[in-house]
Symmetry: C2
């Protein structure tokens, strides 16, 4: 109950609900970390679920906030896990950052500074932008000494911040000084996930932590291009002839995946195989309610074959 109104429906996925869901949608949008895999480990039953949905004529699309890889690199990762997924079926927040700049006619003579990993650099280069930073700046140390002057490139017109396991004070200052001192410099976040399943065994700080640090230093909010922003959906709709009301977003995070689905008019299915545990979903303080929830995508196989 919120404001005296009944909570939106949020039901456990039953055999009936699964059949009705499959009948009412043409496409399934899957988050990856915590849904398809954890780190480099495939989640049990994913190949079977994907095979069944494809057999039922459903379009499968993969929408991930993880900016560490490009679409090409993700396609390779799917292949290495035995799943056949093309680049065109993958929408990453690294790709979203590049497309955001393209759509906004980012001047080709300007450069992009990257706090993040290879995926962002690769997507920016594919889109024709000059960029630097990323892993290369991971070894750069700062010594805060008396007369040290930190130089920066005044032609940087955008800073893109994503997940960065090589995050350091050098990059924090580079990002801060570009955003604060280069007139009109854009501050773009791939996403704001506080944590993520970067390895199979544990959660780790997500891109949201790097974004929070930079955001604090410049006292500005970023433009977010990944989920829950609806930005990626525009590209998805351009690529495929689909209606969002005939899509189902499947994800493990309420504040990104499920909110993204709701923001864009999709049906939503929460899986508990990743970041969200059942008590969190059912807690009174949670205001984001998926249409349905289940333990993992594998449940679709059992339920649809009942």
């Amino acid at each position: 109950m919120a404001n005296g109104l009944p909570d939106p429906p949020c039901g456990l996925l039953t055999a009936d609900a699964a059949r009705s869901l499959v009948d009412s949608v043409d496409a399934f949008l899957f988050d990856c970390d915590g849904v398809i895999w954890k780190g480099d480990k495939l989640i049990e039953g994913v190949p079977e679920a994907m095979e069944l949905l494809r057999k039922l004529g459903k379009k499968l699309v993969f929408v991930t906030n993880n900016s560490r890889k490009s679409r090409r690199q993700y396609s390779k990762k799917f292949k290495s896990l035995g799943l056949e997924v093309t680049e065109e079926e993958i929408f990453t927040s690294s790709f979203a950052a590049a497309m955001f700049l393209k759509l906004n006619h980012f001047p080709p003579e300007k450069k992009v500074y990257v706090v993040g990993e290879d995926g962002i650099l690769e997507e920016l280069k594919l889109a024709g932008f000059e960029c630097f930073g990323g892993p290369e700046d991971g070894n750069k140390n700062i010594k805060l000494e008396a007369d040290f002057y930190f130089e920066h490139d005044k032609s940087v017109g955008a800073v893109v911040v994503g997940l960065d396991q090589y995050f350091n004070y050098y990059k924090m200052q580079y990002a801060r000084i570009c955003i604060s001192e280069n007139p009109g410099c854009l501050f773009i976040a791939t996403n704001r996930d506080p944590t993520g399943h970067m390895t199979s065994a544990q959660e780790w700080p997500g891109a949201g932590t790097m974004v929070a640090a930079v955001s604090c230093s410049v006292q500005k909010e970023p433009i977010v291009v990944g989920k829950p922003s609806s930005f990626l959906m525009d590209f998805l709709l351009k690529s495929f002839n689909l209606e969002t009301s005939r899509m189902c977003m499947v994800g493990d995070r309420l504040d990104t995946d499920i909110l993204f689905g709701q923001n864009t008019g999709c049906k939503t299915l929460l899986v508990l195989s990743g970041c969200t545990a059942l008590p969190e979903l059912l807690d009174a303080s949670n205001k984001i309610h998926p249409d349905l929830y289940t333990y993992s995508v594998y449940d679709l196989v059992g339920l649809l074959q009942k």
Copy 2:
């Protein structure tokens, strides 16, 4: 004007105002970065101002959010700049973190994990606590690989986060996992300054940026022991027989120094020699109004000798 009420008084320090200020207070509390020095450079006229105020019988106290040094190390820094200031006259946020644990009877068998620099480790050790992390963990790299498992010490009962020029993903995960997984683990921030004059020529990301990153990853707010929290004032009052209404807080930041002064009932004087520029002070969106403002502490000398 806010809510139709006139703004609180906020006047330029004139000769009359300076005399009246000096007559009405027994102690001056000075912030350091941006007031006494910038990085390792003394701000012009500071020795003259300090000498004059001491000659007038005023107690001088130094209250800094900068946790990079301990009280002992700050006393040495003052000496190296030609200023005679004892450890007892210095109140740092690193000291505040140690005193907070002491006052709250932090169990001696528990350990403290530090995201920060030497000053915090030294103050914690002086207070009798076992601590680790800090600069030592600045060289530890993470490789987010498939089966990597990040081990942590389950006896960590508090994480202290301060300014850290060796901030990295290892420390972010260590802090996150202690706060999230060790039952009752405290999350203490020395301060939340977004930026600071760590070198004379430029501003740099402040402790607030490290705190924002950790806070995001654990989805919790920290206990703040530095300014504007009034925590340090308790110790100050225990050390000196003074009333806060007969103190003047002199600082360059509205959201820490001036707010601290106001929170604790001091008179407040903003100097424009550090982080805050005049347009920011006078902007309609600024809701923190010092009693008085001037360009630098040196102005006191000229004005009082008129």
